[in-house]
Amino acid sequence: MNADLPLLLRVLRAPQHAPVLSPADWDLLLRQAANANLSATLHHWLEQHGVLAQALPQAREQLSWAAVMARRHRQATYWEIRLIGKALAGLGLPLLLLKGGAYAAAGLPPAAGRLFSDIDILVPEDSLPQVEAALMRHGWVGTHHDHYDQRYYREWMHELPPMMHVLRQTAIDVHHTILPRTAAQRPDARLLRAAARPLAGDGAPPGTAILAPLDMVLHSATHLFADGEFDKGLRDLWDLHCLLTHFGAREPGFWDALPARARQHQLQRFMFYGLRYSALLLGTPVPPATLAAMAPDAPPPALLAVMDALFTRALLPHHPSCRGAGSALADFLLYVRGNWLRMPPLRLARHLFHKAFLTPKNSQGAAA
C-alpha cells in the first residue's frame, strides 16, 4: 500500500526519508503539496523533523515562500479573532471558535502552516439575532441577498448566510450547530457548548473558547465526511490526523471515550470513516481497541468496499500526478452523496431544481 501512495503522503508519513529525494522528486512533491494547499504545512513538518536543512536548496527556498504566507495568515487570524471578540463583547457569550480559528488560537498542531480564509464560530441558536446584529453594527454584512438563499441558510442550514467585513473583506461563518438542520444526524449543540474549554494561555485572544478534544475531533471528521467536495480533502484529513495524534497522546482516556461520544452526537459513521482513512492514508496510530469499538458503526461490507474505492481516490491530492482511473467518477459520486446527506430526497430535488433553473446566473448563492 505504502509504495503506491502519492509522494506527498509518503513524505508526510515518513519525513525522515525526504533528504534522499532526487530533484525531480522534490519538484513533484512541491507541486502535489501546493495543489493540496499543504505547502506551508510541509515546510513546518520537515523543519519539525529536522530534515528541512537537507532539502534540495531550490525546494527549501520555495517552501520558505509558503511559510511567509502562513505567518501572514496566522497574524491576520489573531487580529480578526480580536476584532470579532470586540464586536460580540457585550453579549455575555464566550467566543467559541471552530476549525482553523480554534487551531490557531489554541496553538494546536494542525495550525502549523495552515492557510484558511474565514473564521467559524459557534453560538447558541437563540442568540443568533443578537450576534448577527452586533456583527452588523461592527461592519460585517450578509453576502447572500437572494430570498431563496436566505431561506436556504436560515431554515435549513447550521449557520447564518456567511458574513463579510466591508473594509477588511474577511469572512465569518456563524454556526449554531455543526450539521445542517435538514441532515439525518442531529449532533447536540448544547453538549458541544457545555463541554467547550476556555482558552487561558499566554497569547490566546481574550474571552475565547474551543471545543473539547473529543468534540473537536468529531467536528473535524464530520466536516470532512459529511461534505461533498474533496479537492482540499487531504488538508482536512491532515487536520484530523494531527488532532487524533495530539489528543490521543495527551488527553487521558481520549481513545476510550471517542466511540461513545461519537454515538451521543449521532456522528459515529463519520468518525468511523475519519479513523479508517486517516489511519489508511496518513498512518494515524489508532489503538486496536478503539477500532474494535467503532467496528459496529461501519457500513455493510459491500458499501464499505465502495466507500474505500471512492475515498482512497478523492482524498488524494487532486494534482494530475495523483489522479487515476476512476478519480473523476469518485469525485462525482461523493458530490452526489454529500448532497444526499445534506437534506432529504424531496427537499434536495427542489433545492437542486431551484439552483439550476431559478437562481439568477452568477449570483453569489450559485455555489450554495
Binding site: 532526487s22 525531480a24 519538484d27 495543489n35 520558505s64 515562500w65 511567509v68 501572514r72 494534482h319
Partner: protein, 304 residues
C-alpha cells in the same frame, strides 16, 4: 553551461510541444509547455542566452499554454495559461500566447516569491549602484528602461519586478525581456537600432505589445546583486522639460509600498525592508519627454 541557443529550432519546438522546455531566469527556474509556433519563435529570439535545464531538474514554476478544444477554435482560436493546473488569467486570443507567457511568469514570481519584497518597478545598475524606477503603466518606465540599458550603459536587472532580498537588502537580478507598448515600440526601434524586438502583438489589454531582448551582458551577470542608491519615479509627459526633484522619504516609502505586490504579506519584515531601503536610496520625481536628456540626467545621478 548550455543555453537555450544550443537547441536547434526544431529541437526547441519539440521540447516546448513535448515534456516542456526548462530554463533559468535569474534565481527562478521555469518549465514551459506550448505547441504554438509564435511561442517557440519568441523563446528562440528572446531567451537564447538563458541557461537551459534538463528534464530531471527542479522547476519553480510549471507553465502550460493550451489551445482549448472548443468549437470556437475554428473561428477565434484562444489560448489558456495553466500554472500546474491553476489558471490565473482569462483565456486570450491565440496570437497573444507569447505575451501571456511573459505576464504569467511575472504573476508566478510576484504572487509567490516572498523571500523578496517585490515592487512593480524597473531596476538597473551602473558601477555597483542601482536605480529603482517604480511607476504605473503609461508613465514611460519601460521605454526609459530600454533606453537606459540599450544605450545609456546601465545593466538591466529587471523591467517589471524589483526583487529586494529581505536578508541582505540587495537587489537581485531577474533580467527578462522588456515589454514595450504602442508608440514605444517604434521609438525604441529608432533610438536603440541594435535592439532585438519580438513581432508586435496587437489588441492586447495593453494595446500593441512587443518584447525587447534583455542585453546579453545583463543575462550573463544574474549572479551579481546590486546595492540600491536611487528611487526615481518617472513620468513621461509630451513636450515637458526634463526635471528631477527630490522626494521626501515618507512619500517615497508610501509610494513604494503602494507599488509593491507583497508588502502586506511580508508584514513587519516588509516594513523593515522598505525602511532600510529608503535610508540607503534617495527618492526623486522625474519628468521627461526627450530620451537624450533623460539619459544625461541619469548619467549624472552620482552628483545627487
Amino acid at each position: 553551461m548550455l543555453t537555450v541557443a544550443s537547441l536547434a529550432p526544431a529541437a526547441l519546438r519539440a521540447r516546448l510541444a513535448g515534456d516542456g522546455l526548462r530554463l533559468r531566469t535569474g534565481r527562478f527556474s521555469v518549465r514551459l509547455q506550448a505547441d504554438m509556433p509564435s511561442v517557440a519563435a519568441g523563446i528562440g529570439q528572446l531567451y537564447a542566452d538563458y541557461p537551459l535545464l534538463q528534464d530531471s531538474d527542479f522547476a519553480d514554476f510549471h507553465l502550460h499554454l493550451k489551445r482549448p478544444r472548443s468549437a470556437r477554435r475554428w473561428l477565434r482560436p484562444q489560448v489558456r495559461l495553466h500554472c500546474d493546473g491553476y489558471e490565473m488569467f482569462q483565456p486570450m486570443p491565440l496570437q497573444h500566447a507569447f505575451p501571456m507567457f511573459e505576464w504569467g511568469l511575472n504573476w508566478c514570481v510576484s504572487s509567490r516569491a516572498h523571500r523578496y519584497l517585490i515592487v512593480h518597478a524597473a531596476v538597473l545598475e551602473r558601477q555597483g549602484r542601482a536605480v529603482i524606477l517604480p511607476a504605473p503603466p503609461g508613465s514611460g518606465k519601460s521605454t526609459l528602461t530600454a533606453a537606459l540599458c540599450g544605450k545609456g550603459g546601465w545593466r538591466l536587472l529587471s523591467d517589471e519586478l524589483t526583487l529586494l532580498e529581505l536578508d541582505t537588502g540587495l537587489l537581485v537580478p531577474n533580467p527578462r525581456p522588456i515589454s514595450l507598448k504602442n508608440a514605444s515600440i517604434d521609438i525604441i526601434r529608432a533610438y536603440v537600432p541594435a535592439a532585438v524586438l519580438s513581432t508586435p502583438v496587437h489588441d492586447t489589454t495593453k494595446g500593441t505589445v512587443a518584447h525587447m531582448r534583455a542585453p546579453g551582458a545583463a543575462v550573463a551577470r544574474t549572479a551579481d546583486c546590486a546595492r540600491p542608491a536611487w528611487i526615481v519615479f518617472p513620468h513621461y509627459s509630451a513636450g515637458a522639460a526634463t526635471t528631477l526633484e527630490p522626494l521626501a522619504r515618507a512619500a517615497t516609502f508610501m509610494e513604494l509600498a503602494g507599488n509593491s505586490f507583497n508588502y502586506s504579506v511580508l508584514g513587519a519584515a516588509g516594513f523593515d525592508a522598505l525602511g532600510r531601503l529608503i535610508e540607503q536610496a534617495a527618492g526623486f520625481r522625474f519628468r521627461y519627454s526627450a530620451l537624450d536628456e533623460a539619459l544625461d540626467t541619469f548619467a549624472r545621478l552620482d552628483e545627487r
